[in-house]
Structures are given as structure tokens and as C-alpha cells.
């Protein structure tokens, strides 16, 4: 599954996003190619958490592109 997400945080808005990659019961070898695009507006804030709990035979290859406007705040824990 190729997952692609676009997230826009508007001017002076705030949000918390949690991304979880968790293996289904019985999952063996598989690959996760994930891509996230984020735009954080002027004066906005995004708190972002990534949890990688894929199966022990899995490959997780992920990218993100984040752009901040003026006086914005991006707090990410990966």
C-alpha cells in the first residue's frame, strides 16, 4: 500500500497528528512506503508523533516534506 497524505494547518490554527504503523496479526514481510506533505500556516502550530511498530520482517521507508510560514511552530517526535 502506497499511502500519501496532504495536511494543511491554516493560519493561527493548531493540531496534533499521530501516525501509527502497526502490524496486523500474522503479518510477515511487507513494505510501507509512506509520504506526508504538510503546510503550516502563519502563526499555526503542529504537534506530530510517529509510532513505528511494524512487524519484525517489515520495511518502513517513509518521507515527509514540511513547510512553515511565519511565526509557526512544528514539534515532531519520530
Amino acid at each position: 500500500m502506497f499511502t500519501r497524505s496532504l495536511l494543511r494547518i491554516g493560519r493561527a490554527a493548531s493540531a496534533t497528528v499521530v501516525e501509527s504503523f502497526i502490524a496486523a496479526d500474522g503479518a510477515k514481510a511487507y513494505q510501507v512506503p509512506d509520504f506526508l506533505v504538510v503546510s503550516i500556516g502563519d502563526g499555526a502550530r503542529l504537534d506530530h508523533v510517529r509510532l513505528i511498530e511494524d512487524g519484525r520482517e517489515a520495511f518502513n521507508i517513509s518521507s515527509a516534506v514540511v513547510t512553515l510560514g511565519a511565526n509557526a511552530h512544528f514539534n515532531t517526535f519520530a
Binding site: 510517529r50 519484525r56 511565526n71 519520530a78
Partner: protein
């Protein structure tokens, strides 16, 4: 936080497009055995008066 997968590779690209902004980029890997995880972080300070801080500890468990 990365605790699963055989190989985990994360490549965030973060760009400051406006002044007065800040980024805190943190993370932790809790791995064992032959698990592999890496993070390639590109921070583009394209405009002045911005701040970024990063902490990425790695731990065997």
C-alpha cells in the same frame, strides 16, 4: 518512536518559509538484534530569525 520493523528509514525535509518560526525534531529508536533504523533530516533555514533543535537518542533493548 521506532520499535518495530526490520528496516526503518525516515527522511523528513523541513523548510522555514517565514521568519520567527521554530522546529523541535525529536525521536527515539528502541531496537534489538539486527533491527536497523535511520533518520535523515534536512532542515532548510531559508529565512532569518528561525530556530531548530534536534534530539535523536538510540537505545538497545
Amino acid at each position: 518512536m521506532t520499535s518495530g520493523s526490520n528496516v526503518s528509514r525516515y527522511q523528513p525535509v523541513i523548510a522555514f518559509a517565514g521568519e520567527g518560526s521554530r522546529v523541535e525534531a525529536n525521536g527515539v529508536n528502541l531496537l534489538n538484534g539486527r533491527q536497523h533504523a535511520d533518520t535523515t533530516l534536512l532542515l532548510d533555514h531559508a529565512v532569518p530569525n528561525c530556530a531548530s533543535r534536534e534530539i535523536f537518542p538510540r537505545c538497545d533493548r
